[in-house]
């Protein structure tokens, strides 16, 4: 209170300093406003308006429609709701598989190329990173050739006597496929009724389709290299004395990995998981290149649906609503993940408390 009361007086003494300060931060403020704040606010307005994509969304013919656009995709039964539900289902399975797998693979690759004794380290680092610098679109096109019904992938598994699927066009869910191996081909009555977002429980449990699985493989292939680089940087920051100390204490390589390396990588792990989570909820370019509506709608994602609803169906409000739901969803998930990964040992709690006090004092 006392400090706050002093402030204006101090400002009065150093008159003009505030203005100079504003001048210095002006470029940053203007750029943030023009490219970030205003577009977000405009999109928020579009999501509660009936703008049809003609002229400016602020022109007087555009009306406020409240939460109608949000309702159309979440609570009102119909095609829009089912499309959104299917997209969320598809993307959910995509995230559940891509994020853990790419993180684990990136970490293992990083540990391997970090070994001092590895011959041709530079070559492997470049090779693993290469898919990340190639454009996704180019990779999707190469994958299309590899994964056609008579493509290289099916030729290889054909040599093992397995009849490969028509990858990018197969809409069978993996879980459904596995169940049908046990003779379960239809839903039990309890799961047949339309449920959350108009999708029946049976459909929610379909698993990623074969087509989506190909995209999952593609995503892991392209992004593992990027995250490997992040892990590699963090690994190199772990001093050799720690390794030696572990060695002296008699830790084997496995024990060292789980008790030393992984805990020391926690901040990087958080970065990688967050980036992975955000990236895979926003997956768009692969889907767009493949047309998005093939394989029985099982490769559509909310990001693609937002695009399609806006640009093709000219329902910009609904498209913006999908984008906002996705936005909120990603933020919530990131917060949850942050909370899960937080250090919870009593020592760190005390330290955190101490830091908080310090901060309070300086203020």
């Amino acid at each position: 209170m006392a400090l706050a009361a002093q402030r204006p007086r101090r400002g009065g003494l150093r008159r003009g300093e505030g203005r100079a300060g504003w001048l210095f931060v002006a470029p940053a403020v203007i750029i943030t406003a023009v490219f970030l704040a205003i577009p977000i606010l405009l999109a928020l307005w579009v999501s509660v308006s009936d703008w049809n994509g003609f002229q400016s969304p602020l022109n007087p013919r555009v009306n406020f429609v409240g939460l109608e656009n949000y309702a159309a995709i979440t609570t009102e039964e119909g095609l829009d709701q089912r499309n959104f539900g299917t997209a969320v289902r598809n993307n959910l399975y995509y995230v559940l598989l891509v994020v853990p797998l790419q993180t684990i693979i990136a970490l293992l690759l990083a540990v391997q190329v970090n070994r001092a004794a590895l011959r041709g380290r530079g070559f492997f680092r470049t090779a693993f990173y290469f898919p990340s610098v190639t454009s996704t679109v180019a990779i999707v096109i190469v994958f299309q050739f590899l994964f056609t019904a008579s493509g290289a992938v099916n030729a290889v598994i054909g040599a093992l006597g397995i009849d490969g699927p028509d990858w990018f066009n197969d809409s069978t869910g993996l879980i459904h496929g596995a169940l049908s191996a046990f003779g379960i081909t239809g839903p039990p009555p309890a799961l047949a009724e339309p449920g959350f977002l108009g999708i029946s429980g049976w459909e929610w449990l379909a698993g990623p389709s074969v087509a989506m699985t190909s995209l999952i493989i593609l995503a892991i292939f392209t992004t593992s290299g990027t995250f490997m680089l992040l892990f590699l940087a963090a690994l190199q920051a772990i001093g050799s004395e720690i390794d030696e100390a572990a060695l002296v204490d008699g830790a084997g390589p496995v024990r060292k990995f789980f008790s030393i390396t992984v805990p020391m990588l926690r901040p990087t792990l958080f970065t990688v998981l967050t980036l992975g989570l955000i990236g895979s909820w926003q997956v768009f370019d692969q889907i767009y290149v493949l047309g998005g509506t093939s394989a029985g709608g099982t490769i559509s994602t909310p990001a693609f649906l937002a695009y399609r609803t806006s640009f093709v169906d000219l329902q910009w409000g609904q498209g913006a609503a999908i984008a906002f739901i996705l936005f909120v969803f990603i933020i919530v998930l990131t917060l949850v993940q942050r909370w899960v990964l937080k250090e919870r040992s009593p020592k760190s709690k005390r330290r955190a408390a101490a830091t908080a006090q310090e901060v309070g004092v300086t203020r």
């Binding site: 003609f54 028509d166 509506t293």
Partner: protein
């Protein structure tokens, strides 16, 4: 000018026509071939900077007209009365003729003559009914080649529903789940079960024409654009185009057409109208026909076309009984969902497929008219 081009031949022909007009009138026209026409149009309109003249795809026309995006200029054209009535109807919204159809295409049946002769078939065997089609498709099916192929979408499958006497909207009511539509689908399912009908996806082809060119399908259902595609990609392929066989309720085919769209309140309205009159003149349309195979949209133009290109007579004949695919505002999403559902056509009951189309279309129809 923004166009959705089928290839270099089309882009160059349109460019040449635009240049010729520009030279005559002293205006300038920049022709841009869109990668993704619908998206680029959407972007142009939302950015308040639409192209002065563009290809308006038939399936988006009703939506654009209903949203007030496009100028209803067509009645002011000097040649407004020359267009084929079916096309005028397709590009009318709320009783008003909006935009000039730029050309049109109908669907026909393409027959690979080499495979036809190899199977011992003659001109007398050219199918004119469903039964004959099923028979020849069966005869033409070998280990390497399937008898019949077509896109797995409403724009092909729907023809069979119409031939069985069905339609999606009749007298202001959505009747997608009618008996007749189910009969059309059931007929196709018989062909699938017999192994004589496969879709391009199952033949590893991007579309019917590719399956045809590769020799994986002996017959396909496509429009006149197939001529250009075969000439470019499969010049060896010998084939003829005939009218589609009749269904139990008579002949039917689909007519597709784009029109020359103009944004509402265009500043260049007069010049654009002049350009459109030039582009839709019989002479210019026949030049386009020569370049990329489309049929002129005027009565006299299409007659001249049938004379000039006797091999495409079947497509012109189709206009007599052609229907326009359903395209009211919002229908596109319901049709897209139906196309997705059609992936199950091999196994699902026709009534299930049509049931979901009925409810989606009904919802879209109520919204468009309510």
């Amino acid at each position: 000018m923004l166009i959705g081009s089928s290839g270099d031949a089309e882009t160059q022909a349109v460019q040449a026509a635009a240049d010729a007009w520009a030279e005559e009138t002293g205006n300038t026209v920049e022709v841009i071939a869109a990668n993704d026409l619908v998206q680029q149009l959407g972007q142009g309109f939302s950015g308040n900077n639409p192209p002065d003249i563009f290809y308006m795809p038939w399936d988006q026309f009703q939506t654009y007209a209903a949203q007030g995006f496009i100028e209803p200029y067509a009645e002011d054209l000097e040649n407004a009365g020359d267009f084929l009535p079916a096309l005028v109807e397709q590009f009318s919204y709320d009783g008003q003729f909006y935009c000039a159809p730029k050309d049109f295409s109908t669907l026909g049946l393409q027959i690979n003559t080499e495979a036809w002769e190899a199977a011992g078939l003659t001109d007398a065997d050219i199918p004119t009914t469903w039964d004959e089609l099923a028979t020849v498709a069966q005869t033409l099916t070998t280990g390497e080649q399937v008898g019949l192929s077509m896109g797995r979408e409403y724009a092909r499958v729907g023809v069979f529903m119409n031939q069985a006497g069905g339609s999606l909207v009749e007298d202001g009511e959505v009747v997608a789940d009618s008996e007749a539509n189910a009969e059309g689908l059931a007929y196709l399912q018989e062909l699938i079960a017999a192994g004589s009908l496969k879709f391009p996806q199952e033949l590893e082809a991007g579309w019917g024409g590719e399956a045809f060119g590769l020799g994986k399908a002996a017959m396909v259902i496509e429009g006149p654009w197939i001529n250009g595609a075969m000439a470019n990609d499969f010049p060896e392929r010998q084939f003829i185009s005939v009218e589609l066989p009749e269904g139990p309720e008579g002949p039917s085919t689909f007519a597709f057409s784009n029109c020359w769209g103009m944004p509402v309140g265009s500043e260049t309205r007069d010049a654009t109208i002049d350009l459109i009159e030039f582009l839709t003149s019989d002479e210019q349309q026949l030049a386009f026909s020569e370049a990329f195979g489309v049929i002129p949209s005027t009565e006299s133009g299409s007659a001249a076309y049938a004379e000039q290109f006797p091999e495409n007579e079947a497509f012109v004949a189709g206009v007599e009984y052609a229907d326009s695919p359903v395209a009211f505002q919002g229908a596109a999403a319901a049709i897209a969902d139906f196309n997705t559902q059609l992936e199950q056509i091999g196994s699902a009951e026709p009534s299930t497929l049509l049931g979901s189309l009925q409810s989606n279309l009904q919802a879209a129809y109520d919204e468009a008219n309510g």
